[in-house]
Symmetry: C2
């Protein structure tokens, strides 16, 4: 099997930074999963003693705590500050940005619309900075049920698709008199999406590697599937199935921003042998 | 001939206000044409001694000067202040708004895009408040030749069509990372356009009455023409032509925001007789 890897895929700047912080702070606790990749967080636990706390109640006083790349809610951050002062903020700077925008826009009286998955920790975090007059929408249709008032600020989860974001902006424009649009989708997302789309056009099948709870990975899978119907989403090489490769000659591989190289390499190695 | 008048047409709030100011300030000078209607400004000259100065050089010291509904350029306003302190500002408040937005946005470092006719006095006025980093565009295509940078504020001439404004907003959104959109098209424009569009659907022919240099009148004519091919733009009843009415039974009439009722009534009266 011939393998082609996407020109841009895998670890982004924010994830690399967070892992560096975790590796250099042995035996610390991450507030939620540091990144959306079980095997990598498992590696950090085994190799560096970095454990995950799923709730603030699990954190003992004065522990060293690392805030996850996706950021945490404002209230959680405040409570954390009462438990410990030893906090390392691994929130991706591209996530801190929409948090700050949400806070500023809310302060200036704008209704804040966030395009994203309302159950995703990044979105929960950003929403917590947006005050009472705010809503999360998954698509333009969801705007219909929301009363936004006449002055609206629109931001996006960093890992969403720009095409849907633009549709939401256009739908908002129809109904408000002032609209502020902040394109907070990060560059790594743009580049990985573009590279995945291009690669999917020239292969017989696509494998997307990444956490199934990873927003940007799911987005890559959606894009690959649009272009190449034979696309599969896996967390690691153990999920590869021989029948996917039957009758195919070129396999494209891409990976989410939270997928480490060692997992991608395992997948490449195994896929080659089919 | 059966005549139907548009549900909303003729003098808007800003024009009524300006004429009230002119009538109550006999023998004053207007800086440019107070409104875009020659016959009405002629009436103000004959009945109230209100003359038009086309340039600041024509204004004697300490004259009473009325600023036109469309506003004037910032530099002209400053020079005017050196010639006289007796200034009455008849700038429509809906025009003052985009002037202020242009000034604020420019001050905050945004590139200012103005959708409008670059030769129109209102647009010249608004542009003068937007600083160096600003451009006027007549449509989305014109954006291609402009370097805007990454943070852009978009405003509109008060009398343009919202559909084109939204197209420009969408085109800008494709290329900038932060976009502020201010819908500065005024309500009277919306209402007159909507009423003209509705009327044009149910008649055999349309007459649009208004100054041929009036932006909102021209816009009404464009809209009428889109729906009803037999549409005509006239400044007053003298321009009506018998052959337009031949074989028609219902004539719709609409008028720009600067067209006085007495001109509309003359047109109705004459059209009825065809």
């Amino acid at each position: 099997m011939q393998i082609k890897l996407a020109d841009s895929c895998g670890f982004c700047f924010g994830v690399k930074r967070a892992i560096r912080l975790a590796e250099s702070n042995r035996d610390s606790i991450t507030m939620g999963e540091l990144i959306h990749n079980h095997r990598e967080t498992e590696r950090l636990r085994e190799g560096f003693g970095v454990r995950i706390a799923n709730s603030i109640c699990e954190i003992a006083s004065n522990s060293r705590v690392i805030i996850r790349t996706h950021g945490i809610e404002r209230e959680t951050r405040a409570k954390l500050g009462e438990i410990t002062q030893d906090i390392i903020d691994a929130t991706c700077p591209y996530v801190t940005k929409p948090q700050k925008i949400a806070e500023t826009m809310s302060g200036e009286g704008y209704f804040v619309v966030i395009y994203g998955d309302r159950m995703h920790p990044e979105v929960k975090g950003v929403l917590s900075y947006a005050g009472e007059r705010a809503a999360v929408v998954a698509d333009a249709k969801e705007l219909l049920s929301i009363k936004t008032g006449d002055r609206v600020a629109l931001i996006s989860q960093t890992t969403k698709a720009i095409s849907s974001f633009n549709l939401i902006a256009s739908a908002l424009l129809e109904r408000v008199s002032e609209l502020r649009i902040f394109k907070t989708i990060c560059n790594a997302t743009f580049e990985n999406q573009e590279a995945t789309r291009n690669l999917a056009k020239e292969v017989d099948m696509m494998i997307i590697v990444g956490g199934k709870n990873s927003s940007n990975t799911k987005q890559l899978y959606t894009i690959a599937k649009e272009v190449c119907s034979q696309s599969y989403l896996i967390e690691d090489a153990t999920e590869l199935q021989a029948q996917w490769f039957s009758g195919k000659s070129v396999c494209g591989i891409s990976a989410g921003a939270s997928t480490p190289d060692w997992i991608i390499n395992e997948v490449i190695k195994k896929a080659k042998d089919f």
